[in-house]
Amino acid sequence: MSTSSTPSRQARLSGLFRNGALSTPVLAVLFVGFLLVPLVLGEFWIHVANEILILGLFALSFNLIYGYMGQISFGHAAFFGLGAYGTAILFREFTGGTGEIGYFQFFAALLTGVPVAAAGAVVVGYFCVRLTGIYFAILSLAFGELLFFIIFSWYGFTGGDDGIQRLLPPPFFRSEVPYYYLSLAVVAASAAIIWRITESPFGYVLRAMRDNQQRTRFLGINVRLYMWLNFVIAGTFAGVAGALWGPYTRSVAPVLLGWQESGIAVFMTLIGGSGFFAGPFVGSIVYTFIQAWVTGFTVYWPLTIGVIILAIVLFAPGGLLGALDAAIARLRGGESGSDLEAGSGPEPAE
């Protein structure tokens, strides 16, 4: 099946080729904004902002697979969940029922989630990168669901469907503001590393594989190895986000690994714009903010987000940043949208 390079696709992905022309100012504004949140807003909104940060990192890691590599994963939450469980299980062992944890143990538990998620991504990715398109999507979904059911039914080790509760951070991080700044530091550092990766030659190989896998292979690039590496990197950063999640909500549950949790990363990325580095983050802000706001007065949150997604898919396929980018281009004299797709060539018959 050959998929032609449609104008919507070109518009959607153009942002990834301009070294962050739009993403840099957006991220700079956001970073300053997030630094100021605790000074300006109340406790509830600090809590919401923290969720935006953690899920934003999760969505950012997902976009390494989607926006940059061109594959869609419906099992990405598996690594988010593995990170959360890796942290939570060690956390539970350290507290030993007392409900108290030392600072050293706290950070050790946080760190443990990351290699657990990475190990999961090594195994799952090994098989997933052998496939593309719909098959990649369903295989990742199947692995995610398999891990979900293993954690769901392994009562002795993971707590089964009860999950693990009472993950109370040490005293200093118990109040909203210090934990918020911890999240901000970790998420900002992770985002910086991901940014560096996407702007490296490796990052451009990812874009090449997305645009034309066959041609990339002809250049002598081991496509599977690069896809696998990228899958593991994405899974690792999902694990970082997951590790932060447990102590943030004070609990973990198997649904963190489910495909609907993966769907959240997909939604965020789409809302913000998968063609921009900052897109998933903008999506996380919009999604989480609207959710916190809408659920305050209606139970019909799925209907609300469903209509939003429908509108974006139909009318703004490039997401919010894509629309913003197009608006800026129009103001400057309509030059954008034609000379941006630097890496594209004729599409292969796959």
Binding site: I72, L146, V266, L303, G306, V307, L310, V313
Partner: protein, 294 residues
Amino acid sequence: MSLEPNFLFTQLLAGLSRAMILFLLSSGLSLIFGVMNILNFAHATFWLFGGYLTYSLFQALGGEGILMLVLAIILGSAAMAVFGFVCERLLIRRMYDRELPEQLLLTFALVLIFGDLIKIIWGVEDRAVFLGIEPLQMFDTFVNPYYFVIITVGVAVAAGLWWFLQRSHYGKIVRAAVYNRDMVSALGIRIPLIYAGVFALGVGIAAFAAGVFLPLMPMALGVDISIIVECFAVVVIGGFGSILGTFVASILVGVVYAFSVLFWPDGALAVVFLIVILVLIWRPWGLFGTEMRF
């Protein structure tokens, strides 16, 4: 746990009737994917919506008697087929030259929207139809004879669909459209109508399945979410676009599920996903699919 033959027999019947619901859903899913290349996440949600609709029609027709249920099922399926036709013309049509993720997201948005619409219209209570059928004594155990109705209906739809695709005029057009839509279009056949028709057929069969299952399985919120993932499993195991493959895979998944529940109640679906993983690794185009679309 008793593993006596009569117990295994009832379990097998339950598994086979579960297989039929999976088949009736997956055949539409597979057909739509085969012809239009769209993976319809909302298929099970339309199924659920059709079930609630048929329930309401049945209540409006008096709420008792098998004849009235049959009438309600026919009306419900027809209404949902029309709905499917309109849905394709209004929304799905716009997605044909989009990328896969965007197609998935559009249909997933429909899952969320229609899931909530069901909640708004019918509330959160489960809806079922009670026919008052006497259990049948077989092999020293009691069996709900409705299981046999369901299995018969499932096999009949499978045979009918096979006949439609292989023998009928329109079926041949549909199959030709799978291979080369430009050529079919060049022959003067209106591809957009064929597409809308296939989508309507798929949604109609799904609604029909929901109606037939009403006496056995209550319609409940959220069932669509779990069943659509199982349908993906069936379609992948059987191979996209193959009716025979979908049928065999449905029976495999239904029966495997029914027996894994016995020894791993929480993780029966995990066994199904393990099969999916093995099939995708070993034969990504499925047991009965061809490599064409891979």
